[in-house]
């Protein structure tokens, strides 16, 4: 199954998001939601849990949440705050013990491994700790390690393209080992319809993620989803108009 995701960048508080973007226009247009805490420095875990709960109360799709997860408890709190999966990045190399505890308690499908990649001297390199620490292993070796660990999904993000709207870094996919069988979500750079459409056509990708804010203005995302469906992309199907009618009859009757 192919799916599309939305990743929230913290450019404003939650209230800002709900005020400036009709969240239900977004939440009913995606297959899954990814919420990442990208705060530099010390993160306020409790506040993040509340944000996740708040978004989860209005989003009836699978939710992955993460950013700075270092303990089993933090993962657990997120999974009880409405998240179905946790996203881990630095934890993968920092503590395989805790990774295994999370997998053991919640199952492999509850863990999404996130990998940030940047091009340095014409080579793709892996960065952790919010993009501040360069790792020695190649992207391919890094992904091989992740395959051995056994996670549910891979979230592969291009730091270079992130937020540019210039299109995905498709060449990144060449670094994926041949035997890699974990579903891949590609992220970083989607700015318009064609990016999503072409991304979904590439058989090495199982899902495309977008965090580009212009995609969410008005009913932009809804229109993009409808177009993808019309053009034959295999996205899950539901009728977006019914809920509006339903909501009205439920709250007046």
């Amino acid at each position: 199954m192919l799916s599309r995701n939305f990743r929230l960048q913290k450019v404003g508080g939650l209230g800002w998001l709900k005020k400036n973007y009709n969240f239900s226009n977004i939440s009913f247009s995606i297959d899954e939601l990814i919420i990442l805490d990208v705060t530099r420095g010390e993160k306020d875990e409790k506040r993040f849990h509340e944000h996740v709960r708040s978004l989860a109360s209005e989003c009836f799709a699978p939710i992955a949440a993460g950013g700075g997860i270092r303990t089993l408890e933090h993962a657990r709190n997120l999974l009880y705050s409405g998240a179905d999966k946790v996203v881990v990045n630095t934890l993968i190399y920092e503590s395989t013990d805790i990774m295994n505890e999370i997998i053991s308690e919640f199952g492999q499908q509850s863990v999404v491994a996130s990998v940030d990649v940047k091009m340095v001297d014409n080579k793709f390199t892996v960065w952790t700790d919010n993009g501040s620490v360069l790792q020695k292993k190649s992207v391919t070796q890094w992904l091989e390690d992740i395959a051995l660990l056994g996670v549910g999904e891979l979230y592969l993000n291009s730091i270079d393209r992130d937020g540019t709207g210039q299109g995905y870094q498709i060449e990144l996919l060449d670094s994926i080992p041949d035997t890699f069988s974990i579903p891949v979500i590609l992220s970083g750079g989607a700015g318009k319809y064609d990016h999503l459409s072409n991304g979904l056509r590439d058989k090495r990708i199982d899902a495309v993620a977008t965090e580009h804010l212009f995609n969410f203005v008005g009913d932009g995302l809804k229109k993009m989803r409808n177009k993808l469906l019309e053009e034959g992309h295999n996205l899950p199907y539901w009728d977006a108009e019914i809920v509006r009618k339903m909501y009205n009859t439920l709250h007046t009757g």
Partner: protein, 209 residues
């Protein structure tokens, strides 16, 4: 539609927040409880759950909730919706973790997806998948054709000898995706994670007589 009181059963298993949020979104007056007396008295029950069948049954029995559910559903005609593990627990038996008995409200047996039918597909079955409904009434009213729902499970039950209104899904095997038999309803998928189709189904459950 007048405001319905929905009692969601808390037995320490799984993410209840999303189920509660979806019910509230649909206008229900929700109550989350693990108290047997409250469960016995409820007229609308929801049994959510993810994870191990054995642990789920132990959690229900440990709190004395198993008997309250059976009492509410069989003597008091309460309607109940089991979601994912919740749906499985209402059945007779599961082979997971060496085997365990369920609440027995339905005779079905829960078993792991059979590898030989899967053709390289992976277990667990995770993601959106389409369901095929035998009658688009009751629980399945107003669903579009080829409605997709979100699944995440390794165990399932087959549909041989199934009565009543039900829906199937194909993942290697053709298995039971959802059903409505008298006052007992169940979904293998997560309606609270299935966008609009899921909300439609929850609304149908709440409205059902």
């Amino acid at each position: 539609m007048s405001i319905q009181k929905v009692t969601v059963i808390d037995y320490g298993v799984g993410n209840i927040w999303s189920v509660m949020s979806a019910l509230k979104y649909l206008g229900a007056d929700t109550e989350l409880t693990s108290e047997p007396e409250k469960i016995s008295k409820a007229s609308i029950l929801v049994l959510p759950g993810v994870g191990s069948f054995k642990r789920g049954m132990e959690a229900l029995k440990g709190r004395g909730i198993d008997e309250s559910i059976i009492d509410a559903v069989t003597s008091k005609e309460a309607k109940i919706l089991g979601i994912c593990l919740g749906m499985q627990l209402m059945m007779a038996y599961s082979t997971e973790d060496g085997g365990a008995k369920g609440l027995g409200l339905l005779p079905n047996k829960i078993e792991r997806f059979s590898i030989k039918n899967l053709n390289e597909k992976k277990i667990p079955h995770v993601g959106f998948n389409s369901i095929y409904v035998n009658e688009k009434e009751g629980l399945f009213k107003d669903l579009p054709d080829f409605a997709d729902f979100y699944f995440t499970h390794s165990y399932r039950t087959l549909v041989d000898g199934m009565q009543g209104r039900y829906a199937t899904c194909k993942y290697g095997d053709e298995f039971l995706a959802a059903y409505e038999i008298g006052n007992i309803y169940g979904t293998q998928f997560h309606p609270e994670k299935s966008q609009i189709n899921g909300l439609i189904m929850l609304r149908n459950f709440m409205k059902a007589e």
